[in-house]
Amino acid sequence: MLFGFHWDTGHGELVFAWSILPMLLRGLVVTIEASIVGFFIALVIGLIFAVLKDVPLKIISYPAYVITEFFRDTPLLVQLFFLYYVLPDYGIILPAFLTGALALGIQYSAYTAEVYRAGIEAVPKGQHEAAKALDLTASLTFTHIVLPQAVPRVVPAMGNYLVSISKDVPVLSVVTVLEMLNVAKIIGDQTFDYLVPLSMVGGLYLILTIVASAAVRWVDAKLPKTGVPMR
């Protein structure tokens, strides 16, 4: 029994599969929640790194560069263990779900920082010059000229990272987060049948990523391609 649902092992594989579907769907909800929370953390931390890496002072930009490189080149699993076992030693006790989402966010912040930079650098130089000619302040230029043009350029890449994050969520099962793979593993441990639950997780993942990728393409198609339309 899991989440108040019972599995039925006595009436063949199909009945068994149908009986565990509600449990796996509960796990799927946690997978999606963890993906979204992790994604937002990655968006925020990534933006901070993107700004820091652009600072003209080497003493700030170089450490930011090394730290993102470190985040990118070390395994998510080890980063997760580090947060889960080391933070409590310093008095920071987070629930497993938040620790997991934080690990996802930290790992992917290294990737999103690069996306932000590419998006900002892709805004033509003439836009900056025009803003200067119109006597806009630096902050107004950034928020009203650069960002509105950079955002449409970064959305597809960011969307792809959201899909990637969802595929990394099963790693969170090692710190007891009850996402979809963990649910399937528990069902397998209890019923000695791993084939059905693990295959169903594979199928559900396929559906999730196909739908999510289609959504990213749809959003991308809706976005203006060059600049923003005048209002």
Partner: protein, 223 residues
Amino acid sequence: MHWTEYLPPLLQGAWVTVELTVYSTILGAVCAFAFGIGKLSRNWAIKGFSIVYIEIFRGTSLLVQLFWLYFALPIAGDLIGINLRLPPVAAGVLALGLNIGAYGAEVVRGAIQAVRPSQYEAAKALNFTAQQALWRIALPQAIPEMMPAFGNLAVQNLKDTALASLISLGDLAFRAEQVRNFTQDSTTVYSMILLMYFGMALVLTAIMRLLERSVGRWRGARS
């Protein structure tokens, strides 16, 4: 216990991680070329099989694939009466290689398609067969274009090997977990292996750069 005493078990694990990375990267490269070229095939069976392989391994999570091969495959084998019980090393190399191979296949396909059509026309004009055009004209020009993406995938693969510790394979992450259980010194152990993984990734990146430079010579003269 002094931190230097952690080193022997961790280095032992690091060597397993290196082996795992090398084997699975080689398997991944083979899969990438086989299925990347297969996806461009005119034979619908080869093309269809390549597309299904790529979609399944890119569309699902690596950890799910790893668990499936290790926990579910033996049961599937029992159903059809074959012993498919894989040792952890085999399951690890297979899952990592097949997973990274699917991502690599898309890189291979993209790079081959990016070879200019005039190159194929010239090959045809010179009476090259389709095979010759692929091996002697398209691939030598496409491979240098694949290298930067392959470099990223190799590092990705190195990081992914840590997941093999979850099917009790004695790699670096697994040894670290053992040392931590024994000493309860999480901060030192995890800081050490984070740095070790970082070091290995830097070495791997350097190797891939060298490889990139050496195949760069195959690039045709740009018009």
